[in-house]
Amino acid sequence: MRWFWIDRFTELQSGQYAKAIKNVTLAEEHLHDHFPGFPVMPGSLMLEGMAQTGGILLGEKNNFEHIVILAKVPNVIYHGFVVPGDTLTYTAKLMNDSPEGGSVEVTAHVGERLVAEAEIIFSHIDQSGDFKHLDQKNFVFSIGGLLSVMEVGKAGA
């Protein structure tokens, strides 16, 4: 299993906002345990999808020169269930961008229905004291990684 919780970017305005979608399907095994007879997309994985959308938005702004990690979620609110057959649309707005990190506000919709919203802070871990020795580029975005979903309008390769 690959840790991809978005399927495709549908819009990207560099440094401003990004939209990505996630199709929820009963083929995902965890839905059979969460919950038996009542499959619901776990809120934690929606948060991961929101963080991937926002993290790529921030990473792209800096040409993927930093290692972007999710550092803090000051706020997250869930408004409703997401079930197999639903298409989640994550919309991330870049609110802050600095050498040390950045922050985004992200919403999750199914159609017109708002199902979750979050504020997420990322750290550029290569810029923080203990990790300054890292010289690799962001591994998450390397070829074949999550970056492939960024080809707007194309499925992940």
Binding site: K72, S98, S103, I121, S123, G129
Partner: protein
């Protein structure tokens, strides 16, 4: 903006960033020891202060950058040197360096990160 108004806004900023109650936030509160701030919270606080006061806070201007790893002769045997103290006085004048200088262990600098320090910083920025 009066210092009371600044304090109120700083307090609201900390309530949002750290999830503390507003009566926990006094001028003397230390961000780490009293209010439970962790490293990433400092970035969150910077972002929120920028937004709430419409100011720009460049890196290292509010919280000094890691002195110890700077290799610039500012720290010796875990203590901030006289030169280091002088540098701090210039670079981060909102921090109470006189108190810090009494026991200038590097790790003690964090006890100087107080609500009062944030208020002083903002006062200088919006002046």
């Amino acid at each position: 903006m009066t210092s009371d108004e600044i304090f109120t806004k700083v307090r609201n900023t900390l309530v949002d960033a750290l999830g503390v109650d507003d009566d926990e936030v006094t001028l003397e509160s230390r961000l780490e020891a009293d209010l439970g701030a962790e490293s990433i919270d400092f970035l969150d606080i910077v972002f929120r202060l920028e937004k709430n006061f419409s100011i720009k806070i460049p890196r290292g201007e509010l919280f000094p950058e890691d002195l110890a790893s700077a290799d610039a002769g500012l720290v010796k045997d875990g203590l901030v040197t006289a030169e280091g103290l002088a540098t701090l006085r210039t670079k981060v004048p909102h921090i109470d360096i006189d108190t810090f200088a009494k026991d200038p262990k590097v790790e003690n600098i964090k006890d100087m990160f107080t609500v009062q320090m944030l208020v002083k910083f903002v006062q200088r920025k919006v002046a």
